[in-house]
C-alpha cells in the first residue's frame, strides 16, 4: 500500500484547528496547577500520527481503496468537521455573551427594584402620617381670634359673631376634607403605580434569573467540553438526573455501611 500523504492545505487547516481548539494557559497558571513539566507534541508528529492511524486502520481492515479517493474523502470529512466546530464555537461564544448580558441585566433590575420598594415605603409612611390635628386647631384658633377682634371693633353683636365663627369653621372643615380627599386620591394613585412597577420588576427579575440559570446550565456543558473543572453534583438538566441521583445515593449508602461495618469490627 502506498503511504498516505497529507496535502499542504489539509495540514494548514489541521494546524489552525488544533491551535484554535487548544486550551490557552499561562506559565504561571500551570505552576498554580502544580505542573512542573509539560509534554510538547510537535505538529509534524501530530500530522504523522493521523496519517499513520488512517493507514494502519485501512491495512488492518484489509481495505484497498484508491489513494486519491481516500484523500478526497478525508479532506471532505475534515473540512466539514472544522465547519461544525466553528459553528459550535460560535454558539458557545453567543451563549457566553448572553450569559454575561443576563447577569448585568439582573443586577440592574435588582437595583431598580430596591429603589422602587424604598420609594413605595416612603410614600406609604407619608400618606399614613397625614396633617397634624394640632396645626388645624391652631389655625382655627387664629381665625376665631381675628374674627372676634374685627367684629367687636365694628360693634357687631356677639350672637352674630358666633354664627360667623361657626360658618367659617364649617367652610374650613369642608375645604380641608376636600383637600384631604384629593391628596389621598393622588397618594393612592402614586402608591398603586409604584406597586405595579414593583410587581413588574419582580416578574422581570424572576424571568432574568430563570434565563441566567439556563445559561449557567449551558455553561456547564461548555466547561465539560473544554475540560475545565465544574460545579460538583449531578446536574438537574442531565437527562438521566433521577436515575443517576438514585444510583449515586446507593453508592454513598453502601460506602457508609462499609465504614459502619468496619468500625464495628
Amino acid at each position: 500500500m502506498v503511504p498516505l500523504v497529507m496535502t499542504r492545505s489539509l495540514a494548514r487547516n489541521l494546524f489552525h484547528m488544533l491551535r484554535g481548539a487548544a486550551e490557552k494557559t499561562t506559565v504561571e497558571g500551570l505552576k498554580k496547577r502544580g505542573l512542573r513539566t509539560v509534554s510538547v507534541l510537535n505538529f509534524r508528529d501530530v500530522q504523522m500520527i493521523i496519517v499513520r492511524s488512517i493507514e494502519n486502520t485501512l491495512q488492518r481492515r484489509g481495505l484497498d481503496f484508491d489513494q486519491s479517493d481516500i484523500q478526497d474523502e478525508v479532506r471532505h470529512e475534515f473540512l466539514s468537521l472544522i465547519r461544525e466546530r466553528d459553528v459550535l464555537q460560535g454558539t458557545v461564544d453567543a451563549l457566553l455573551r448572553e450569559k454575561g448580558e443576563l447577569a448585568e441585566n439582573r443586577s440592574a433590575l435588582a437595583t431598580e427594584l430596591d429603589k422602587a420598594t424604598l420609594e413605595y415605603e416612603n410614600a406609604q409612611s407619608s400618606s399614613e402620617a397625614g396633617d397634624s390635628d394640632q396645626e388645624i386647631a391652631a389655625l382655627m384658633k387664629r381665625i376665631a381670634s381675628e374674627v372676634i377682634a374685627t367684629q367687636s371693633a365694628a360693634g357687631v353683636k356677639p350672637q352674630l359673631t358666633d354664627t360667623t365663627l361657626s360658618l367659617v369653621q364649617a367652610a374650613l372643615q369642608d375645604h380641608l376634607q376636600t383637600m384631604g380627599q384629593q391628596s389621598e386620591n393622588g397618594q393612592q394613585t402614586n402608591l398603586n403605580q409604584l406597586q405595579r412597577r414593583i410587581e413588574k420588576l419582580k416578574r422581570k427579575l424572576h424571568e432574568t434569573e430563570h434565563m441566567l440559570e439556563r445559561a449557567r446550565a449551558n455553561g456547564v456543558g461548555i466547561e465539560r467540553l473544554s475540560g475545565e473543572s465544574v460545579d460538583p453534583g449531578v446536574k438537574h438538566n442531565d437527562p438521566d438526573f433521577e436515575v443517576k441521583k438514585e444510583l449515586l445515593g446507593e453508592i454513598f449508602r453502601l460506602n457508609v455501611e462499609l465504614r459502619q461495618l468496619l468500625n464495628k469490627n
Partner: protein
C-alpha cells in the same frame, strides 16, 4: 510525564505537610478540590482527574534488593515501567491479585508478613497514583476507586486503608458499574471488564447492580499469559522465554482474528536470537477466554426479565485492558450467535481508561455533602 525519584519524594512530603492545613470550609470552591477516578487494576493502574491529568502505569512497586542497588538507583522505591526496566536490581511487588490487595481476603495461603508487605506496596502504589495527579498541595483530593464486582468486605477495607493516607475522601465502587456509568449506559446493558486478574461481568438495569447482577471470573489477562506460556513450552520446547517476554508479545500481537499476518518474535534458542512463529499459540490462548465469558453472559441473560433478554444480549459493552485483543468484540458476538442465539458486543472507546473515566464522572456527579460525610 517523567519525574525523578527525588521529585516524587518531594511531592510526597509536600502533600503530607499540607494535609493538616486543609480546610473543609473551602471545599466547595473549584480550585480547592481535585476529583480523581482510579482503576486500581491487577496489571495496570489508571487515573483520570478533574484537572485533566490522565495516567496509566503497570501496578508494580519495586524496592532495591541491597545497598548496592539502592546506591545505583538513588531511591527507596520505584513504580510502574521503571520497575520493569530495573527489575533485576529490585524486589518486585505486584500488590494486587484478582483485582484486590493480596492477602486482604480470607486466603490462608498468604503469610501474615507477605500480606503486610503487599499492603505497604499497595499503599505506596495509591500514593504514587495520587502524586501523578499533580494536585495543588493545598487542594482536597476526592477519589472514587473501582473494585472488582465481587470484592469482599475485607478487600474493600484494605483498599480504604491503602487510600486514607493520601486521599481526603474516598468512595469504593464496582468497577464494571463505573465503566457503564462512564459510557452513560445505565439500563438494559451488560458490561464485560477484562482485567489481568479477573473478568467482571455486570448487568445494568437502571438501579444499583446487586450480587445476582454481577459475576467475577478468574479468567483474565494472567490466565491468558499462563496459557500462552504452556502452549509455547509444548510447541517450542527449545525456546527460552520469561513471563515478561510473554506479556510483551501479548501486548503487541494479541488477536483472535482468523486472518492476520504471521506473528513472529525473536527469542533465544540456545542463547542465539531466533525468529519464532507464535501465530497459532497466540490465537488459541486469546480465544481461551471467550467460552467462559459467553457462558457467564448466558447466565446473566437467562436470569433477566424474559421480555428484555434480547435487548440485553444486543447491548454488551467490552472494556478493560484485556479487551484490546484484536477482533475480540466480533469473536464474542460470533460465539454468542452460536451458543446464545445472537448478541452484539461493542468495545468501549478507551479500554484502559474506561474504568477511571467512569469513576471520575461518578466522583464529579456525587453531591458534595456525601463527600464531606465520608471524609
Amino acid at each position: 510525564m517523567a519525574t525523578t525519584g527525588k521529585n516524587k519524594d518531594n511531592a510526597n512530603s509536600s502533600t503530607g505537610a499540607s494535609k493538616a492545613s486543609k480546610s473543609k470550609g473551602s471545599a466547595d470552591t473549584e480550585q480547592s478540590i481535585v476529583w480523581i477516578g482510579m482503576d486500581l487494576g491487577t496489571s495496570r493502574t489508571a487515573i483520570a482527574c478533574s484537572n485533566g491529568v490522565r495516567e496509566s502505569f503497570p501496578s508494580l512497586v519495586g524496592y532495591p534488593k541491597d545497598i548496592i542497588s539502592h546506591k545505583m538507583l538513588g531511591t527507596d522505591v520505584l513504580y510502574g515501567k521503571d520497575v520493569i526496566a530495573r527489575r533485576l536490581s529490585l524486589n518486585v511487588y505486584r500488590p494486587l491479585e484478582a483485582g484486590v490487595i493480596k492477602g486482604s481476603g480470607d486466603d490462608k495461603n498468604v503469610a501474615a508478613d507477605e500480606a503486610e508487605a503487599n499492603m505497604t506496596a499497595a499503599r505506596q502504589l495509591v500514593k504514587h497514583a495520587i502524586r501523578s495527579a499533580n494536585a495543588p498541595a493545598d487542594s482536597l483530593v476526592y477519589c472514587v476507586i473501582g473494585a472488582p464486582a465481587e470484592a469482599s468486605i475485607n478487600n474493600r477495607h484494605a483498599l480504604l486503608e491503602a487510600a486514607k493516607e493520601v486521599i481526603d475522601s474516598v468512595i469504593i465502587c464496582s468497577e464494571p458499574f463505573s465503566v457503564a456509568y462512564g459510557m452513560n449506559v445505565l439500563t438494559d446493558a451488560l458490561v464485560i471488564d477484562i482485567g489481568a486478574g479477573t473478568t467482571d461481568l455486570c448487568r445494568m438495569h437502571g438501579t444499583m447492580p446487586e450480587a445476582e447482577d454481577q459475576v467475577t471470573l478468574d479468567h483474565g489477562g494472567d490466565i491468558l499469559d499462563a496459557k500462552l506460556s504452556e502452549l509455547l513450552k509444548k510447541s517450542h520446547p527449545e525456546v527460552s522465554f520469561s513471563l515478561q517476554m510473554i506479556v510483551d508479545a501479548k501486548e503487541r500481537f494479541s488477536t483472535v482474528r482468523s486472518t492476520s499476518d504471521p506473528i513472529l518474535v525473536t527469542w533465544p534458542v540456545n542463547g542465539r536470537p531466533t525468529e519464532i512463529d507464535i501465530t497459532n499459540e497466540m490465537k488459541e490462548a486469546c480465544f481461551s477466554i471467550i467460552p467462559p465469558i459467553v457462558e457467564a453472559l448466558g447466565k446473566l441473560v437467562a436470569s433477566f426479565d424474559p421480555e428484555f433478554q434480547e435487548v440485553l444480549r444486543n447491548n454488551v459493552l467490552l472494556g478493560g485492558g484485556g479487551s484490546q485483543i484484536r477482533g475480540l468484540a466480533e469473536a464474542i458476538s460470533d460465539y454468542m450467535d452460536e451458543h446464545l442465539g445472537g448478541g452484539q458486543v461493542r468495545q468501549v472507546e478507551e479500554p484502559v481508561f474506561a474504568g477511571a473515566n467512569g469513576a471520575l464522572l461518578i466522583s464529579k456527579d456525587m453531591p458534595p455533602e456525601y463527600w464531606e460525610q465520608l471524609s
